[in-house]
Every structure is written in structure tokens, then in C-alpha cells.
């Protein structure tokens, strides 16, 4: 059977149309290159639309004391000093410009009294820093970028008569493979979701901006697109992933009804006085206050309750501990059998606040529970549990160029790139991360293309890629992809979840290897026309690689830090702080090796109070005072 293949030639391929991909495409087009934007769903639907809270940038509109150095410090603290310092530095320095630029493209952020962009407080940020539009900041960001692309296309149309002469969006097209010739990127291969027809893109540079990996887990706030395609494509193309053990679990996702499992319940519910209880009616968070926080958090209900009216003379309620602490506490309660039958705990605001106040202060939450769960949170408790929210790990890149280490022509930006957030991301830092590094990736890719010659994709590479796409249809009597996906999610959920132990992780690695064999035997019913079973079979392969990489990195890292908690190694280790886990793929399995984390240069080191650094660094590191 010979299948006709659609061919396209571009200067740069951007895989992913979220904030990062679109920003990269704009930059590459403005550098005068021809760009293809490829995405799995319709244009403007990428996962970025779901971001609510805001985009962190130290514009200092609300508090003048804010600047990039404060932002940098907050980001490093949040990541528990495992961040790549240079990425955090670039991000802190460039975020304000990236936000202001959006305004010139038509974005309408909420305003301060003086008419500047308003900024709000968020966990871990010292000053009000998040530019926002109500609770739909991600939508504003993606729509603005989408409209910027359209604006550029209109300019092209005026000049060349063809709107798509320089930027073309290939929506609902899945890339299954990155092609290389002579060790360098030469193009990508994929299929149209609509009809299953195969497409070959020839291009010397590719920017990966494929977002997160949430769908590898059973409970997640991510959409179906979060299958870690970019992570997997990069691995398969010979690039590395860094620190894949770090996943952010948000403590409060909805757990019941099943339809809404994982959907985010904003932190403000607890901020407004929401109380966590188990099925015995016990307010359990008092049991889980770590020693380091004892002086800041109330150890009895009376004091915790007083805090809401008098914050100066009382300690905060323990419900407001950092995200990872609360996630772990909920997890322990459920494991101890004190969770609800659906595996969550209760979060209740109805006892503290009147119905009107709840509807006024938490309108979208009231709406969300009322519409989706049939729960009136002014009268009843919500059922909540941790939900997989964000992956800190990702493609190992050069900070300044976003170039993937080891593969000339390959770039990665946004959630699929690693390093920037260290072991834990601060809320709001992702949206500006997308813009800062999306732009840098686009810029660097453009420079690369201008200096590198053109490449050609060989016929044999095309044939191999094509065969892989056909495979699921040629088999009969094999496995059902939906079932395998469920099994994978059970494994990650139970064994690679929030709290990990060596035995469980080892178990997971064995099970994942078994699953890999079965995935090789997937069969798909129906034909190629918009066939979700067929689509899932590819996503599944990617998710399996992610799961393997996460499990293998997690078993190695013998400490607990940020988004990685080991029951058998509950403390942070200063030695492990200096180490990145690097995943690579040899064609049959993921291998993880260790690599030293770049050392903070002196000028950045000096931004911190040495006493603070003591918690994270060895005496030798402190004595050295950063590199020169």
C-alpha cells in the first residue's frame, strides 16, 4: 500500500499553539522567516486558555519596591534552589516587557487607579505581581497572541496576496516524529486528525512548545492535550529531559462527581476561610504542621479562627500551608482511611461565611460547583483532593537560546522545557515563562536557520515514519488503547504519585516496562477519519515514556524537595540540590544520569541573605559565595 504524502517546506516549525508556541512563531516571522504552527486542537484552544490567576512580572505597578531581583529571589525560593539560575534571571528581567508588549497587540488587562496594569498577590510572590484579567488571564494571553498572528497574516496578505505566505497554522495535526539528517533537525512527520492523512514537514529548525504531561496521571487539571508529546519527541530525537521527577500536585482539585475529577479549586477558597476536615469531622491540618512552620501557623482551632479577624496577633490557620504540605496531608488522611469514599477530604466554607459573602468573594467557585457538581458551596462542603497540575521537568535547554542540548536545530519553550522552575513552580510564573522563552526560542531558531544551510529529508526516514503511523491498523486482535491508558494512569497514580517510596517506584518501573510491550500491540478499530482511538495510540506511547522517565528519576533522587516527596527520604539534601537528573532514550528504554547543576554566579548569589541559603546549600558552597 502506497500512501500519498502531503509535503510542506518551511524555515521553522513551531509545534504547539499555546502561549509559548505562538510567541515563538511571532518572533520568527518578524525575523523574516516562513513559519508553520502546528497544533493538535483548533487554533486558540491550547491548554494556555485554562490559566486563571495571572502572569507574574515585576512591573511594580502596585508596589514600587518590586523589581527583577525580588522576582528572581522569589522564583529561586519557590523552586528550592534547583532552578537553572540563568533561566530564572532572564525570566525575571524580561517578563515586564513581554506583558507590556501584549498590550500593544490589543490585550486588555485589569487596571489600577492610575490606569496602569493592575497586579495581584499570589503565593510565594513577595509583592502584588500578577497581571491579570479577572480569572481568565490565560484566555486573554492566548487570544492576544492568536490575534497578533492574524495581524501579521493580514500584513502578508496585503503584500503578497496570500495571508498564509509566511505563517500558516496547521490545526488538528499531530506530530509523531522529529526527523534528523546528519545529526541535525531536518523536519517532522505527522498526520491530520481529521482524516488520518500523513504530512511531511521539511524544515531546518523546530521549536517544541507542546505543554504538559498531566494526562499521564489519573487525576489532573490538564486537558487531553497534556500527553507530554514534546517531551517524548525530544527524547526520541536524542535530546535530554531534566528533572522529570518534579510534578506539581495542587492540593485542591475536585474529586467528585467523576465528571469534574481534577478540575482546579482555587487557593482562595482556603484564603477566605475554607476548612479541611476528614470523614471523622476532624480538622486534620493541625497534625501536619512541619517544625519549620510551627511559629507561623496556629496549632489550635480557636487561634486559627481568630486569624481571620485579627491577623497581627494570631498565627495563620494550617490550611494555608504551602501547596506541597497540604497535598501531602490530604494524601495521608486518605491513605489512613479517613477520606471520603471517592478518595478526597472535605473543604467547607459554608460554616464560616454567609451565602452572600461566598457568592461575592468566590463567584466562579460557587458557579463551578453549582453547575458541574450540583453542590451548593454556601450550604455543603466540597470534596477535594490533590490533582496533577504542572510538570517542572522538561527538555534540557540552553537558557539564552532555548536550544535543546544535543540536537542542533531543536528548541523548546514553555511547559515542555525544563530548568526554569526548579523543583516547584510559583503560580503565575508559567505564563510569563511562555512569553519570555517563546520569544527567545523563536529568535534563536531564526538565527540558526539563517546561518545553517537547508537540509533534506531522506526517503528512508519518511518511509520509517509512515510505517509507524500505519502500524496500529495493520494489527488485529491486540490491545484497546483506552484500556491501556487507564492502566497506565492507575500505575502512575498509585505508585508515582504525590508520596513516593523506593519499593513502589521499583514496582512502577517494572509495570511500565510490561505495559510498553503491550502498547506495541495496540489495535485500532474504524478507519483514519477523525478516529480518537487511533489518536490515543500515539499519545499513549508518549505518556509511557514520560511515566518511565518520571519513575526512574524519582527512584534515584533520594530526598524530598518541592514536587518530589519520598516517604523514605523525607528531608531536603544539600548534595542532591546540586544535581540534575538527566533522562535520555536509547531506543528501547529511558536512562537517567546525574549532572551537576550550574552554580549561581556571584552577583546573583549576593542577592540572597546568607542565612537563607544555609537551608539549601552546603557550607563549602556558602563559603565559595557563588562562581565568578
Amino acid at each position: 500500500m502506497t500512501i500519498e504524502i502531503e509535503r510542506h517546506k518551511y524555515d521553522i516549525l513551531v509545534i504547539g499553539a499555546g502561549g509559548a508556541g505562538l510567541r515563538a512563531a511571532v518572533e520568527a516571522r518578524e525575523a523574516g522567516l516562513r513559519v508553520a504552527i502546528i497544533c493538535k486542537s483548533l487554533f486558540g484552544k491550547a491548554h494556555t486558555v485554562m490559566a486563571e490567576g495571572g502572569a507574574a512580572a515585576s512591573m511594580g505597578n502596585v508596589n514600587e519596591n518590586d523589581n527583577w531581583m525580588v522576582h528572581f529571589r522569589d522564583t529561586m525560593r519557590g523552586g528550592k534552589f534547583l532552578n537553572h539560575y540563568r533561566m530564572a534571571e532572564l525570566h525575571a528581567k524580561e517578563s515586564p516587557d513581554r506583558i507590556w508588549e501584549l498590550e500593544m497587540w490589543g490585550a486588555l488587562f485589569d487596571r489600577t487607579k492610575e490606569g496602569k496594569i493592575s497586579q495581584r498577590n499570589f503565593g510565594g510572590h513577595e509583592y502584588p505581581r500578577l497581571a491579570h484579567v479577572g480569572d481568565r488571564t490565560g484566555l486573554e494571553l492566548i487570544r492576544t497572541m492568536q490575534q497578533r498572528i492574524v495581524a501579521l497574516q493580514q500584513i502578508d496578505k496585503a503584500e503578497t496576496g496570500n495571508a498564509e505566505s509566511n505563517i500558516k497554522v496547521f490545526a488538528e495535526l499531530t506530530i509523531t516524529e522529529i526527523l534528523k539528517e546528519g545529526g541535525k533537525v531536518s523536519g517532522a512527520y505527522g498526520y491530520w486528525r481529521e482524516n488520518g492523512k500523513e504530512v511531511l514537514f521539511e524544515a531546518p529548525a523546530i521549536v517544541l512548545a507542546t505543554g504538559g504531561v498531566g494526562k499521564t496521571f489519573k487525576i489532573t487539571s490538564n486537558s487531553w492535550e497534556g500527553t507530554g508529546d514534546g517531551h517524548a519527541l525530544a527524547l526520541k530525537a536524542g535530546a535530554n529531559l531534566v528533572d522529570m521527577e518534579f510534578l506539581q500536585f495542587h492540593p485542591t482539585g475536585m474529586v467528585w462527581p467523576p465528571s469534574v475529577r481534577g478540575i482546579l479549586v482555587t487557593e482562595s477558597v482556603r484564603g477566605e476561610g475554607g476548612v479541611l476536615t476528614n470523614t471523622n469531622g476532624e480538622r486534620f491540618m493541625f497534625k501536619y504542621i512541619p517544625d519549620v512552620f510551627k511559629d507561623k501557623y496556629a496549632d489550635n482551632e480557636a487561634e486559627a479562627d481568630r486569624w481571620y479577624v485579627d491577623q497581627d496577633n494570631n498565627r495563620r490557620p494550617p490550611e494555608l500551608l504551602p501547596r506541597d504540605e497540604v497535598s501531602r496531608a490530604i494524601n495521608s488522611e486518605v491513605k489512613a482511611g479517613r477520606g471520603t469514599e471517592h478518595g478526597g477530604v472535605f473543604l467547607d466554607v459554608s460554616k464560616r461565611l454567609s451565602a452572600e459573602v461566598i457568592k461575592k468573594r468566590l463567584p466562579s467557585m460557587w458557579h463551578q460547583f453549582y453547575e458541574l457538581a450540583g453542590v451548593d458551596i454556601t450550604k455543603e462542603a466540597m470534596e477535594v483532593g490533590p490533582t496533577c497540575h504542572y510538570v517542572m521537568g522538561g527538555v534540557e535547554v540552553e537558557p539564552d537560546t532555548a536550544a535543546a542540548v544535543g540536537v542542533p536545530g531543536l528548541y523548546a519553550a514553555g511547559e515542555c522545557a525544563g530548568g526554569m522552575h526548579g523543583s516547584n513552580r510559583l503560580g503565575g510564573n508559567s505564563l510569563t515563562d511562555l512569553l519570555v522563552f517563546g520569544r527567545r526560542a523563536g529568535m534563536a531558531a531564526a538565527a540558526y536557520v539563517k546561518s545553517a544551510g537547508t537540509t533534506q529529508v531522506s526517503q528512508s526516514a519518511v518511509q520509517a515514519a509512515s510505517l509507524r503511523i500505519q502500524a496500529p491498523f495493520t494489527r488485529t486482535g491486540g490491545e484497546n488503547p483506552y484500556k491501556l491508558h487507564q492502566e497506565l494512569q492507575e500505575i502512575t497514580h498509585n505508585l508515582v504519585g504525590i508520596i513516593r517510596t523506593k519499593t513502589e517506584l521499583d514496582d512502577a518501573i517494572v509495570k511500565i516496562t510490561e505495559l510498553r510491550k503491550r502498547i506495541a500491540n495496540i489495535t485500532v478499530s474504524g478507519n483514519r477519519e477523525f478516529n480518537p482511538g487511533f489518536h490515543l495510540s500515539f499519545d499513549l506511547d508518549n505518556m509511557l515514556l514520560i511515566a518511565e522517565s518520571t519513575a526512574k528519576s524519582a527512584v534515584l533522587r533520594e530526598e524530598s524537595r518541592g514536587g518530589h516527596t519520598r516517604d523514605d527520604f523525607p528531608k531536603m539534601s544539600t548534595t542532591w540540590r546540586q544535581i540534575n537528573n538527566i533522562s535520555s532514550f536509547d531506543g528501547t528504554q529511558v536512562n537517567v544520569s546525574q549532572q551537576p547543576l550550574p552554580v549561581l554566579p556571584k552577583e546573583l548569589f549576593d542577592l540572597f541573605d546568607p542565612h537563607e541559603l544555609e537551608k539549601y546549600m552546603t557550607p563549602e558552597e556558602l563559603a565559595k559565595g557563588g562562581s565568578n
Binding site: 486542537s41 483548533l42 484552544k45 491548554h47 486558555v49 485554562m50 512591573m59 515586564p96 516587557d97 507590556w100 508588549e101 498590550e103 500593544m104 497587540w105 490589543g106 486588555l108 485589569d110 487596571r111 492610575e114 490606569g115 496602569k116 484579567v133 481568565r136 484566555l139 486573554e140 487570544r143 490575534q147 492574524v150 495581524a151 497574516q153 493580514q154 496578505k157 495571508a163 481529521e194 486537558s223 487531553w224 492535550e225 467528585w256 462527581p257 467523576p258 465528571s259 469534574v260 478540575i263 463551578q368 453547575e371 458541574l372 457538581a373 450540583g374 484497546n480 483506552y482 484500556k483 485500532v524 478499530s525 474504524g526 478507519n527 477519519e529 477523525f530 478516529n531 480518537p532 482511538g533
Partner: protein
């Protein structure tokens, strides 16, 4: 508390298609998209459906449920009486691709026809100062999640294929209104274009777009009618026309 649902799902493609009866289990609290996914996983593996966020934020899962344009992820199964058959079809204003998936490229074409935002020449990033009250009207329209339910329900194109070339549709009327009310936009011919090129005059303000908008944007009241009034200012009101001529001549404007 599971219940059995009788679904009638439209299956087919460009050439042909029909409603197919499916019996599926639904659990407490589930939305229509959940049961479609169950059908997909257990019975019809290749049933085509678009979705992304499952939280009413991306506007992907638009379809028609019992004849009404809706988001499947925001339609509770419990809103249908026990035992009632639920009919699910693709959007009926756009060409069908397969099963519940339609070709919505019409909307992207229309988006391309609306002149983009144009800030004042020479304005630099970081300079804009805008009052909250001045951005609020446009912000309402920027809530749009591009589900295209309003486009689907608008009879101007739903019932008249031939109007598609001359009618931008409610989604793009709010886009035009957003820009015309944007404090920084300097293009001044948006009203005229709205009437002459985008088909604003074809809208007979029957408000179906407003009825179906999942974001509760008051499309007709806050965008279409104000734009119609602005068009009258510019094109049909002899007094204002005269006034603006005089002011222009005297250099007041």
C-alpha cells in the same frame, strides 16, 4: 447512583449519516461529554468528538443537544428527565466532517477579514494608561471562548448558506465592537466596514446568539445594537452627518 441513558448520536460524514441509538450508563453528576467519552471507550471507539478543557473554558465541545447549541462539557445529564431520550448532533450551521465534529474554518476566515487592533503610531510598550471603566466594555467581549455556538445558531447563516460570504456573524460583531470601543484603537472606519463589508445590517437582532452564549456575553444588547447605533450615527442620521461635516470644517474634530 448510575442510570441508563438512551442516546441518539448522529454518526456519519460528508456523504451520509444517521442518528444511532446507544444505551450507556451515566453516573451521578456527569455531563454529556462524560457519557460520550464512555460510549467512545466502551462501544464506539472511533466516535469523533472535539473537546479540550472539560471545564467550559476552551469552547471546543460545541454540539447540539436535543436541538440546542450547547457545550457538552457544561450540560449536566441530570438536567434531562429520567427516561428521556437525548439526541446529540453536530453543529448544523457548518459542514460536517465526521460524527460530532464539524468544519468551523468559516470562523477563522471571518476572523481574518476583521482589521486588527491598531495602537497609536509611536506609542511605546508600557506607556498606555487606560481607566478600568474604559476597558470594561471591551473586556466583556474578550471573555469569548470561540465556541462558535452563536455563529451556529444565527439564522442568517444557519438557514441561508448563501449569506456566509457576506456575513461575519455575532462572534465577529463582538470583535468589531471590542475594537471600536477599545480606548487605544485608532482605526476609524470600523463602523462603516461593519455595515458595508461584515453584514451588520443582516442581523435582525432576534437574540439567539445571546441566548446560547455560554459566557453570557450580552452579544446583541452590548455589541450589536450599540454598533448599529454607531452605524446610524455615521451613515443614516442626517443631523449627525451634518454636524460632523461642520465640525470637521471648523477643525473641531
Amino acid at each position: 447512583m448510575a442510570r441508563k441513558l438512551n442516546l441518539r448520536i448522529w454518526r456519519g460524514n460528508k456523504e451520509s449519516g444517521a442518528l444511532q441509538n446507544v444505551i450507556v450508563e451515566a453516573n451521578e453528576g456527569e455531563v454529556v461529554l462524560d457519557v460520550i467519552h464512555r460510549v467512545q471507550a466502551e462501544q464506539l471507539n472511533d466516535l469523533a468528538v472535539r473537546w479540550n478543557c472539560k471545564a467550559g473554558k476552551c469552547g471546543s465541545c460545541s454540539m447540539e443537544i436535543n436541538g440546542k447549541p450547547r457545550l457538552a462539557c457544561m450540560t449536566q445529564v441530570s438536567s434531562f428527565p429520567e427516561g428521556e431520550e437525548i439526541t446529540i448532533t453536530p453543529l448544523r450551521a457548518f459542514p460536517v466532517i465526521k460524527d460530532l465534529v464539524t468544519d468551523v474554518s468559516f470562523n477563522y476566515k471571518k476572523a481574518m477579514e476583521i482589521p486588527s487592533f491598531q495602537p497609536p503610531v509611536g506609542m511605546k510598550p508600557g506607556e498606555p494608561r487606560m481607566a478600568q471603566v474604559d476597558v470594561e466594555r471591551s473586556q466583556e467581549f474578550r471573555k469569548c471562548i470561540e465556541c462558535f455556538l452563536c455563529q451556529d445558531t444565527c439564522h442568517v447563516i444557519r438557514d441561508h448558506e448563501e449569506n456566509k460570504s457576506s456575513f461575519a456573524g455575532p462572534r465577529f460583531f463582538i470583535r468589531i465592537a471590542e475594537l471600536d470601543m477599545h480606548p487605544l484603537d485608532i482605526l476609524r472606519n470600523r463602523k462603516k466596514k461593519a455595515q458595508e463589508e461584515h453584514g451588520l445590517g443582516m442581523c435582525n437582532i432576534t437574540k439567539c446568539c445571546t441566548e446560547v452564549c455560554p459566557e453570557h456575553i450580552r452579544i446583541t444588547d452590548n455589541a450589536i445594537i450599540p454598533m448599529k447605533e454607531r452605524v446610524v450615527d455615521e451613515k443614516y442620521d442626517p443631523l449627525r452627518w451634518l454636524g460632523s461635516k461642520i465640525r470637521k470644517r471648523e477643525g473641531i474634530l
